[in-house]
């Protein structure tokens, strides 16, 4: 009886006891594990060029797997030195395995820029993506936005936006950002030209209205700047002898300016000969600029 019971129990016990031991040790190892997050060893993968050879014709699938892993890994905020291999993972591994895979360029640069704060690293990754995928407008757009929003390098931003808008599929908003970069750079005439182009080719009422506001205000700013320079030139000339002209028409007659400018609303600029102050009678259309 006892022997029969022993015989009956021996095999279940032979399974249950080691299974419990395995579960217990697994739990201990898990709780004592590093803070690096699951699969941290992926960080030390060799270059994607070698992995590509080892993937036996399936580099895209390997790139997918490492990309999915990277999303989980970089979502773990407790991992120590989590940005140490950021460049290697995105630039050295995933995008080497599959250079046409656009999302890793976007997400990788976002992590580099927003979380690691290394904007230049992000731009290097995006440059690599642009070189491998010249038909993708989103990559130069992202690079341009990083230059504009994060490092305030409007010159580089304008160059990236120009690359993006060379693609006919690029959304119209990028053309507006491109035009505005020149305004930020202080080149109001170039900005006006680009805004005019946006206005003339606008295909909806919103774009038509917003581009008109920019054109309107830029024209006023350019006119005011031209008039102020002309007034100062008059004042310092022998004819002005330290005085401002009595009217703006005098500047035209003297050939300092070709014609008396009219603001975009068709109203002449207000001029005070006593102080030499010139201003627009029409208010700016963009509230952020304040009164003219």
């Amino acid at each position: 009886m006892l022997r029969a019971l022993q015989r009956r129990l021996i095999w279940p016990l032979a399974i249950v006891v080691p299974a419990c031991a395995a579960a217990w040790s697994w739990d201990r190892l898990e709780s004592a594990g590093s803070q690096d997050g699951p699969g941290a060893s992926v960080l030390y993968l060799p270059s994607g060029r070698y992995l590509k050879a080892a993937s036996l014709g399936f580099p895209e699938v390997l790139a997918d797997a490492i990309y999915i892993w990277s999303i989980q890994y970089y979502s773990n905020y407790t991992a120590a030195d989590r940005f140490a291999y950021l460049d290697h993972i995105y630039s050295g591994v995933i995008t080497e395995l599959d250079p046409h895979y656009v999302d890793p360029y976007l997400i990788g640069s976002l992590i580099m820029s927003t979380e690691a704060g290394d904007h230049e690293m992000a731009l290097r990754l995006l440059d690599k993506g642009i070189a491998a995928n010249p038909h993708e407008w989103i990559l130069p757009f992202e690079a341009g936005f990083t230059c504009y929003n994060d490092i305030k390098d409007f010159q580089r931003a304008a160059a990236y936006f120009e690359k993006a808008i060379a693609n006919p599929e690029a959304p119209g908003a990028i053309r507006r950002m491109h035009a505005e970069m020149f305004n930020k750079l202080g080149d109001k005439r170039a900005s006006l030209d680009y805004w005019l182009e946006v206005h003339e080719t606008a295909d909806d009422a919103y774009v038509e209205d917003i581009s008109w506001r920019h054109v309107h205000d830029l024209r006023i700013e350019i006119d005011l700047q031209t008039l102020r320079e002309a007034l100062e030139a008059w004042k310092s000339s022998p004819r002005g002898a330290g005085q401002y002209p009595q009217s703006l028409l005098e500047l035209v007659r003297a050939g300092v300016i070709s014609r008396e400018p009219i603001d975009p609303d068709g109203v002449a600029y207000a001029y005070d000969p006593a102080t030499g102050q010139v201003r627009s009678a029409s208010p700016f259309r963009l509230y952020r600029r304040g009164p003219a």
């Binding site: 399936f58 895209e60 997918d64 990309y67 599959d98 046409h100 999302d103």
Partner: protein, 253 residues
Amino acid sequence: MKIMAIAANTFKEAIRDRILYLLLAFAILMIGASRLLSLMTVGSEEKIVKDIGLASIALFGVAVAIFVGVGLVFKEIEKRTVYTLVSKPIRRSQFILGKYCGLVLVLAVNLAVMTAVFYLVLIQRGWMDWRLTGAIWLTFIELMLVTAIAILFSSFSTPILSSLFTVTFFIIGHLSWGLRLMADKVEGVAAKFLCEFFYRVLPNLELLNMRGRAVHGLELPESQMAFATLYGLSYTAVLLALAVATFRRRDFL
């Protein structure tokens, strides 16, 4: 006609071996992947589902080609059924070609069903792109070539050795470009010649790999597709001729 009879028999045999269970695994993998990926990734779902689909079609196909292919001829010899066959008015070439056609038929059915499941998932998610068919076609050509390698080894070796050889050839087929690089690096005319020789002689399976281009929606040039198909079929023909020549020398009596 005799070839077709042997092919039909080989097909039935494979079906009896429950090869089609693989299709169920593929369907589960595809549907599961398309559902689960949205939890795991940021963007790229479409690209990943397409990658997994194409890779699974190829890998499941290669697994069938190798592990069924290497046993095709050997099993007949081991079970001594080959004696009955060769004593009948059937040429050895007909026997090998019949076996080959039967397995290719199995692969074609497998591939067709897997492609249908794959396309259903893509259509359901609104990601269908017919350019993928070009990549799947070349995968089929690759499977035909791998099957021919398996049959060749199966005609003179045991299944274990044949699978090792075939898997090795499959790996070499995807790495043969390395021989070209090696030819540039090694010194000595003989070494260079050997590298160049093996580069040209060994199968270059990367020529049949358009999966990446198809997934990214890049153009699959018609001429490239045609030449890749011609390359795969010609190479397969050479391997089958070698298999027949090897099998003809075997003495079963």
